[in-house]
Amino acid sequence: MASATPPAQGRSPRLSDRGLAVAFISPALLLLLAMSVFPLLWALYLSFTDYSATRGGPARWVGFGNYTAILASAQVHQRALTTLLYVVGAVGLQTVLGFSIAYLISRRTRGRGLLTTVFLVPMMLSPVVVGLFWRFMLDAQFGVVNSMLGSLGIGPVEWLTRQRTALVSLIVVDTWQWTPFIMLIALAGLTAVPKYLYEAASIDRASEWFRFRTITLPLVWPLLLIAVLFRAIEAFRLFDLVYILTNGGPGVSTETLSFHVYKVAFLGFNTGTASAYGILMVLVVIVLTQLYLRYLNKLKED
């Protein structure tokens, strides 16, 4: 562990250390202030106005008008529900699958490196590539998925053009891409479980299930929770996959909150309303991130 304070050596080095720290840290912080904090503050200001990016003209102050309109909007409630279904469905599925794969891999002695590498491929692909390619595979007419189902005698499924199936497709594709993420972190946790614990347990003739429940799970759980929270935050802000795979459709059945913000901002040009909408989303993200960081911090201190 690197200690924070360098040894005091006379009086000048200490002073220059502070100068060095400022000189090294402030450029990075300045860039973040300019590109992250300032824009958010601007959005905060716009959220109290009726500004429109196309109409131009001066922005009129409307107080909390945008916020009350959004919180009362049935449309927004529907998007919130869609987002919730998606987050719970996708992250839930990924967790179960990812952990299971990690558990199976951790029990193998040979071929572990190869298996891990194979499973990790989807995660590294761009959402654009993933979205486009699944769109092709899920095509109702010439998609390979329906083709395979057809040879099993299952009729063509309109994956992306039916209200119910479209959200399921979205969840399936996201699960395909991000199961490796959970798997990777779960595997890291599983391989960190000290071997002697298992040895002690097998001397005691503990059952496999007992060992899993009392040794594996408690030790892997903290790390797994980190992965789940991380995925939940990412899933909550999902935009690109929706944009490519379904474009929110059919109807509005796959519109997530992020996608709706985009429509209000860039298709409706209600910049003020969209900013308020965005700020509300940011608040949710801040709460989730705080949760995540607190937990991470606790884990590190243990």
Binding site: A2, D17, A28, R108, L120, S126, S151, L184
Partner: protein, 303 residues
Amino acid sequence: MGVSVNEAVSTDPVRDHPPPARRRGGRGRSALEVALLTVLAIVMLFPVLWMIETSIKENRDVYAIPAKFFNFQFTMDHFKDVFVGAGGGRSALSVSFLNSVVVAGVSTVLATVLGVPAAWAYSRFAVKAKKDQLFFILSTRFMPPVVVVIPIFLMYRQVGLIDTELGLILIYAAFNLPFTIWMMKGFVDEVPAEYEDAAMLDGYTRLQAFRRFTLPLLVPGIAATAVFALIFSWNEFVFAIFLTSSDDVRTAPPAIAGLIGGTTVDWGLVAASSVVFALPVLVFAYLVRKHLVAGVTLGAVRR
């Protein structure tokens, strides 16, 4: 092949130990597990293989019903179309690939140049409210891009950065910076501060000590961090689609996504450009596989 993942997180010096003791007589079960893993691996890999196959298929085989798995007509035309335009010159796609190289490359350099010194300073010095600062830095990375892009769009319009490569470079550098700082701080923490202290006793200033003794030890870490930043910028889509529009500036992700805009979609071309686009990412990811856990959690989770 070294099992990279093991080393990334374990708090325990024992690594690469055999899996949780398997019971004897569990042969049948073990075979079942292998079969299950194989099936899962095929499911995970199939879309990628299908993409590669589609990219080398004649068009009529691409749209064949039912889908042709093996006896298809081989062609390299789709790959030619990725690089060569209809008139014979360079295609719009190949220009976008070049733009992607420039934008991802320069933004990564910028994030590294700003991030590495900051990470070193956070690791070595008693900075006021250090933990809060670090957490603040990481939390900027979690902001929904669609929300951030609204004010950035207005800001860029004001200063003339809309539809420029510089605009994309700046936003990508800012979005990779939190990651670079967190990831690098982990690497700096691993280099004992005593090296610098000893060098300073020999009469070097702290800055010299950093440059001559710590920095060389950080090179592998810097390389790994930069590769991840490169992948993140390369794959980025949301900022690219909202902040750029012209063919000369556009990066590859919006350009590839633009291929499905028309009434008919040339899926062979989509597949070929996706393969060209994804290949470098997979190669790079393989190079940094040791650091994947830290990389994909933005430097937050490590040993």
